[in-house]
């Protein structure tokens, strides 16, 4: 059976998050000192070799990303932490920040040293004002004790726009604009915040960095799945016995997460579906539960690991109703910059609502499928590209549920 393994949550419950002495007492900020002794490119190499891949959803090699910014000459560079955490069903970054804020600051400072940045921003969602307080306390303590050296960190608040989790929209928001994604390239690593080279990483990604520097790339890369090593923090929601969070090595299966750690479906019911990665993730039927949760294994079954949210639905769940709700989410959160997403999310919600009300025909479903395929390819950013995934995956695995509601 799967066992918890705590790397990013190694200090959870063991230290007082509001006391820097506690963090320093368990070896905190020693990895930053070690990094400074290694030299910039050696730090980047170490992180690259560890094969730490982004925990915010896209799974990009963190060391490689840092390398782009390191290699781009500029008078100012930035480190940005993505703490927007907008994927419904996800609260892992909150758990990390509330319980061990200094590990995030240390990870960011190591990145700052490695790429040559003296300024960092944490973009924390506006719904977490109490987390912002914890972060500001930690930053004040770190500055007062001098551990960060010449690296400065500032918290900026999001304001309830899911799209601002997308890295270029996030950058626009820090700049004080509407959070509309930019065209890529150029990527933020080369031209990001105020046009300067900017590393954007997720909270959980940064939280891994101090441990990797402490224990080495080889140690890290030997944990979990070979191509997506380390651990992942999962948050379980829906009809599951243990509605809580777990940190697990990445070579466990979906079944391990839902039935092992999660304790299975509530009230002795049968499972209908699991949606992983948040509201933009694909729906997974029982027959695919033995899939490993790592990034590549999930992609191979047309699902995602995403943020690590695990939404469990029992046999009584009305999937069409859930998809109706999800398509409404995307209609609401589309920023409106590109037409395929602005129009597509609206029409998709319209069609699914029609199915849910028992007023649709088979032609409507065919149309929504075609619309979904167009959006996946034509939308500007990941929001619109992923928005059809819940509908398209339920149509491939649970089509009878839709047919049963046709008028």
């Amino acid at each position: 059976m799967a066992q918890e393994m705590r790397i990013v949550l190694r200090n959870y419950g063991k230290i007082d998050p509001l006391k820097i002495e506690d963090y320093i007492g368990v070896g905190g900020y020693q990895s930053l000192a070690k990094a400074k002794g290694m030299g910039q490119s050696a730090v980047i190499d170490e992180v690259r070799k560890s094969n730490l891949r982004g925990r915010g959803g896209a799974g990009f090699n963190a060391g490689m990303k840092w390398g782009f910014s390191y290699n781009t000459p500029a008078d100012q560079k930035y480190v940005v932490c993505n703490a927007d955490e907008g994927e419904p069903g996800t609260y892992k970054d909150r758990i990390i920040m509330q319980n061990d804020p200094h590990t995030l600051l240390e990870g960011m400072a190591i990145c700052g040293y490695a790429i040559g940045a003296t300024k960092g921003f944490i973009y924390c969602r506006g719904e977490y004002p109490y987390v912002v307080d914890v972060l500001n306390t930690a930053i004040d303590q770190a500055k007062a004790s001098g551990v960060l050296g010449d690296f400065d960190i500032e918290v900026r608040m999001g304001a309830g726009a899911y799209v601002c989790g997308e890295e270029t929209a996030l950058i626009e928001s820090i700049e004080g604009h509407r959070g509309e994604p930019r065209f890529k390239p150029p990527f933020p690593g080369v031209a990001g915040l105020w046009g300067k080279p900017t590393v954007v990483n997720n909270v959980e990604t940064f939280a891994n960095v101090p441990v990797i520097l402490e224990k080495g790339a080889e140690w890290f890369s030997s944990i979990g799945a070979a191509k997506y090593p380390g651990t992942k923090v999962f948050t379980l929601t829906g009809d599951v016995v243990n509605k809580t969070f777990f940190e697990l090595p990445t070579d466990v299966t979906i079944r391990d997460v839902v039935f092992g750690m999660g304790g299975g479906v509530k009230d002795g019911k049968k499972l209908k579906a699991v949606q992983i990665g948040g509201t933009s993730g694909g729906f997974i039927p029982e027959s695919l539960l033995d899939t490993q949760v790592d990034f590549d294994s999930m992609s191979a079954i047309g699902a995602t690991l995403g943020s690590g949210a695990v939404f469990v639905m029992d046999e009584d769940t009305d999937l069409v109703d859930v998809i109706d709700r999800i398509t409404k989410f995307f209609e609401h959160e589309s920023c409106g910059k590109c037409a395929p997403c602005r129009e597509g999310t609206k029409r998709m919600h319209e069609i699914v609502s029609k199915v849910n009300k028992g007023l649709a025909t088979a032609d409507d479903i065919a149309l929504s499928e075609r619309l979904g395929k167009v959006m996946t390819r034509a939308c500007l950013c990941g929001l619109g590209q992923a928005a059809p995934a819940p509908l398209l995956t339920t149509l491939s695995h649970f089509r009878p549920e839709f047919n049963a509601k046709l008028g």
Binding site: E85, G86, E87, P88, G89, T90, Y91, R94, R125, G126, E127, Y128, P129, Y130, R156, M157, G158, A159, G160, A161, Y162, S173, I174, E175, G176, H177, R178, G179, W194, T235, T237, G238, D239, K243, T244, F245, Q275, T279, A309, F311, M313, T317, V322, R325, I326, F329, H332, E333, C335
Partner: protein
């Protein structure tokens, strides 16, 4: 209550600080007065249209008056399947208003929100951003009592 002009001037020299300024105003007023958007446009040296565009882009920010206590109900899928609709019905009944409305005495506003990141305890509501988890129709009266 702090004057919004004072709040804005505290953020004036922060690059991109207009959103932080809006947050600080909303914390004080529970919303952003229309005139404050105009004042912010001036302070951050942008057109009124642009400042208004920023303020209205973000669903956590509200331009124009609303109640002193803002109750938001999460309607994201995990809260939805956990019975958010029953919580909505109980709140509407208790306050005598519909979603999106404000009570006559200006004390409460009811709004929907998407996930607020407290999904270990669905269904979730927030009152002035303070989260309450595992909310049931029965608990609504008790939770509201503290704000009446």
């Amino acid at each position: 209550m702090a004057d919004y002009n004072e709040i804005i001037s505290a953020f004036k020299n922060k690059p991109g600080g207009i959103i932080e300024a809006f947050h600080a105003i909303q914390k004080e007023y529970s919303y952003i007065p229309e005139e404050a958007v105009v004042a912010a446009a001036d302070a951050f040296d942008m057109s009124k249209a642009r400042a208004y565009g920023v303020a209205t882009f973000y669903s956590y920010l509200k331009v124009g008056k609303r109640g002193k206590n803002v109750i938001r109900i999460c309607e994201s899928a995990p809260c939805h399947v956990a019975g958010a609709d029953k919580v909505v019905a109980a709140l509407e009944k208790e306050l005598g208003i519909k979603m999106g409305e404000t009570t006559g005495d200006g004390k409460f506003t009811l709004e929907f929100t998407e996930c607020v990141g407290q999904c270990q305890a669905t269904p979730v509501i927030t009152i002035n951003s303070v989260p309450y988890g595992d909310v049931t129709a029965e608990k609504v009266g008790e939770i509201l009592a503290a704000y009446k």
